[in-house]
Symmetry: C2
Subunit: 328 residues, 2 copies
């Protein structure tokens, strides 16, 4: 098997596992939304990280499909509840659960999804289950902390770079770290390798979010999936805006605040103006440097692990590098 | 130690455990609501059942305070989320979490509470943890199913007695069954006793809900904590109303439907009229008979278990009998 086939084959198996897993039947309003949100797709990057991470140490990653699926089910639970809180009408171009059904259904169906995530961890060896649940509990609580901080930042005037990086670490990066650690733990990797893979996941996770912030402003509209500039239009406190507010001087500061406070504006004009400011003030470069710093830290952590199965290492490296270089 | 001191002493220890457990600190909006809802009190009947059930087989119930607390934390998580769904302004006379903070805080803080419930199970022996989490997952999913059915019933014209009994079994009774089974399992009771205690809990749980339905209409207002007749005023589909709709004939059926459809009415008048109908049609007696049938089934299941520690058996019997005979 060549390196390039590993990921697609594992993704096929995972998809088949997810689409046939007996989440439950009655009442419909409780279980249909689980199947609905899982069918909306997504890159399944988190469970793939678990499978490849396990594959570094053992040759039978299909043995941990259930635990890998747990990570994806948990991720989709957070999306279902976050979408209620953010009042988001769409998720991956389709109606969100609280729109298609109602907010109560999205609350309760999400609750059951969290229970099902725990259920999916159960086929683990008894001597590892406690450690897995403990690591997962910590990650799950941290993801909730990150979401709460993100909501708090919306109504705060001032957010520091450090606070922002900590928020994205909690809200998105620790789950990538957990996904990788989970595979390593189940694959009986050394404690050191488990921690290295965790750290690798957290580092690239923070980098991926910084990349998201950059793409939202600077992506090529022809290649980008959604409207470029959405974060600028909504004054979202991304790394770019936080640094711009910190560093802008004189006229630049005035212009930036002018756009932030304007209630009626031409979206295209605002995006172009703020984008130019980001380049002029130098925060585009600062964000790129910070992102690359996290990627570089991450991949040096990855390099230090024991590479038992080279093809899985290659696949893991390629998959994560593709995300580092993505343009959408 | 005499039988009567066991429950109060265990409840003291449980309260102290709950009030000092490190649920988490930052952000405040995530963790303060957990401490807030737990401080509102309640009878702590579920964790007490776990402790007494364990005490039937082992003399050191303080060893499972964490797991007993898990049941109470889970129960309060369901209250926090149910209160959002029911738009309830008050819980035990105090503002509900979504009122005191906001619905997003109640969603996310509830999510973390569910994670913390799993965390509290972790100090269990490794060889029992999988079984505990599996039994808990099933119960947790069933409680959500019950809540969804309860919401569905609100907008349905017709609900059968069987559907209602199944809904209350899921929404409230299985958690009592699980609480008892948990204690027995951790106490190394036989599989048979674990199931008997589970069945006992489910049977009395259904009985307690039927008792709630009856008290809401027929309680002595001087002894009852809240306004008698609330279910009648809101047309709540309780056992009484479901059976009355099924059995009322001629004039009685007309009068009942008249009150159900009236949009403006004197509450006291409606309560008196529907209450009289319940007695006349005979559904008060039907509900009492059904309730007693569940209690009687329950206690005969309890009698069959092996009574290793008689004082704990006495305490368990007294506590549950007090609930059978409560007047508020």
């Amino acid at each position: 098997m060549t390196k390039n086939q590993l990921a697609p084959e594992l993704l096929d198996k995972l998809e088949s596992f997810l689409s046939t897993y007996p989440f439950g039947q009655k009442p419909d309003e409780l279980y249909d939304p689980i199947r609905y949100i899982l069918k909306l797709g997504g890159k399944r990057i988190r469970p793939l990280l678990s499978l490849l991470s396990y594959g570094l140490y053992q040759n039978d990653p299909e043995k941990i499909l259930s635990q890998a699926a747990a990570v994806e089910v948990f991720h989709n639970f957070t999306l279902m509840h976050d979408d209620i809180m953010d009042q988001a009408p769409l998720r991956r171009g389709k109606e969100t659960v609280h729109e298609k059904w109602n907010p109560n259904v999205a609350i309760l169906s999400g609750d059951v999804m969290l229970v099902k995530a725990y259920e999916l961890f159960l086929p683990s060896p008894a001597e590892q289950l406690g450690e897995i649940i403990q690591a997962f509990n910590q990650t799950a609580a941290e993801v909730c902390e990150g979401q709460q901080l993100d909501m708090n930042f919306e109504t705060r005037d001032h957010v520091t770079e450090g606070e922002y990086l900590e928020m994205i670490r909690l809200k998105t990066a620790v789950l990538l770290g957990f996904a990788l650690k989970l595979g390593a733990l189940l694959g009986n990797a050394s404690k050191e390798d488990q921690e290295r893979l965790y750290d690798f996941g957290v580092s690239i996770g923070v980098g991926f979010q910084l990349k998201d912030d950059l793409l939202d402003v600077f992506a090529d509209q022809a290649k980008f999936g959604k409207q470029v500039g959405g974060d600028i239009i909504s004054n979202k406190k991304t790394f770019l805006l936080i640094k711009a507010l910190e560093l802008a001087q004189g006229e630049d500061a005035k212009t930036l605040n002018h756009w932030l406070q304007m209630e009626e504006f031409d979206p295209h004009e605002k995006v172009q103006a703020v984008k130019s400011l980001y380049e002029k003030i130098g925060v585009k470069k600062l964000a790129e440097d910070k992102m690359n710093e996290f990627f570089s830290t991450g991949f040096s952590q990855l390099e230090e692990i024991q590479k038992v199965n080279e093809p899985y290492y290659q696949s893991l490296y390629e998959i994560t590098q593709a995300l580092v270089h993505r343009e959408k």
